[in-house]
Amino acid sequence: MVEQTAAVGTLSQQQFTCEAASLVEKAKALGEPWTLVEAADQPAYLKRLVSVRSAVRPATDELPVSDGVVDVEEEPNDGATLHSDPLSEITLEVHAIYSKTWQCPVLYFSAWSANTGTPVSLDGLKNAVRDGLPDLDLTARTAYHMPFIAQQDHPVLGTPFYSIHPCETAMLMAEMLSNTDAADGRYLLLWLSLVGTIFHPIALVHSSYFN
């Protein structure tokens, strides 16, 4: 009755669960905070928190991501002078949730002030980082004339999250998989590195995951 047709560029729920588990394992080895959120009667999803400190000083070229903290601010030696405004410390929460409808993972994210917990708008998130997040484009539309990024209710939590519309995912992934050697079992990683570009210069996964 619930039928799963394996079209090109799609992922089955089983594969998702399997690849998500191996990703979390790898992340643990690399010391990166990807977790699998599981609850009774609810589909499991991948989750990661990224602490974005607003930039006051010029950014270093290499962004340290291994500790899960994207610190765009140079470490101030004389802490008294420029410790970033506590209000401007923002937590970016990223979820990868499997959609049975689209038969692919969907990226959900939200941002809030680390201190007050108040939601931060996309513009607020962009402005918090020096030079912004240039690829986080609210005006972009998909090939099906859908807002590329739009607020949606989180399928599990029911609260507002931004999400990337999945209508193009299968198409893009099909192309990506056909162009990648040894793509087996790496759908999720490839997909994360694809959709994760919207947070550039913040990276959700990096090359070590592929080893």
Partner: protein, 313 residues
Amino acid sequence: MQGAIDETVAERLWDGQVPLRISVHPADAAALGVHSKSLSLYLSVHRFSYLTLIATDVRRFFADADGGNARLGEVDDADIWFECKGEPLKWHYPVGLLADMTTAANAAIPIAPLPWHVTVRFLNFPADKLLRGHSESMLSMTSDAFMSMIKEADFMRNGNIKKVMGLSKQDQTQLWESFAAHRFRDFWNVNAQLVAGGSEGVNGGGSYPRFVPMRVYVAGCAVVQEPVSPVDGESDHEYTLGEILSNILPRYYSSIPGGQVSRRSPNGTGEVTTFPAAVPILHGIEVPPDTPLVWLSRNCSYPDNFLHVVLRF
């Protein structure tokens, strides 16, 4: 199974209305200096409509009734929100769905008292609970959400969005505009092209959709949206709503009339308890469980092409 529309049902659903009593929240009334606190707006709202479509009128009513309250007159439409019994109401859900959810949540009273009392809020938008609109673009936000649902439904039915994208630009625009203007025939002239028939190549005649666009709402749980096929591929048996619900939500629903379901109690003790089976509510009525899903989807979907079924206990 031909893709014809049951116009009697469609038109009746189209004209369904919910009586609303809207009043200003006391906290906002105090903060904005609204004098006539006890004043209520009585409004019969189409079940298919959205709260964002009445927000401006509601604000104007209270601003005028209050002898031209300037501060109320300046409130941004994106800051207006509604709540019922302290719960924010999602503006991107049809009003009828909201009414059904409210009724279902109140298990003690099987028939909700009418008119439905809703509080309008002008301050403290709960951005952690409601999708936040942009200033002056609430209408386009609502239309975006509406079209997004239609496209998702198209994808579920056909495995692609070709039907919607295949509509002429004018038809795509007409879909939303005739809906917003509540013009039944204009809307259905376009909508029939989407809901009638099924995907090509499936089941020979192409009469069945791949999956049925349906969402099931259970109080306190995440929205259930499963890829539901309306027909048994082997026996050509058309599934009924009851069969589908007992299949995807066996813990809440049983297709046996008056049957019971058993599930672990939510308090986490692991105890298995039995409960009376839930009743599926759609458009304010209890849907007979033997209604074929494919018929239901074609004729009883909301204008956003989804069946929004609420389970009442």
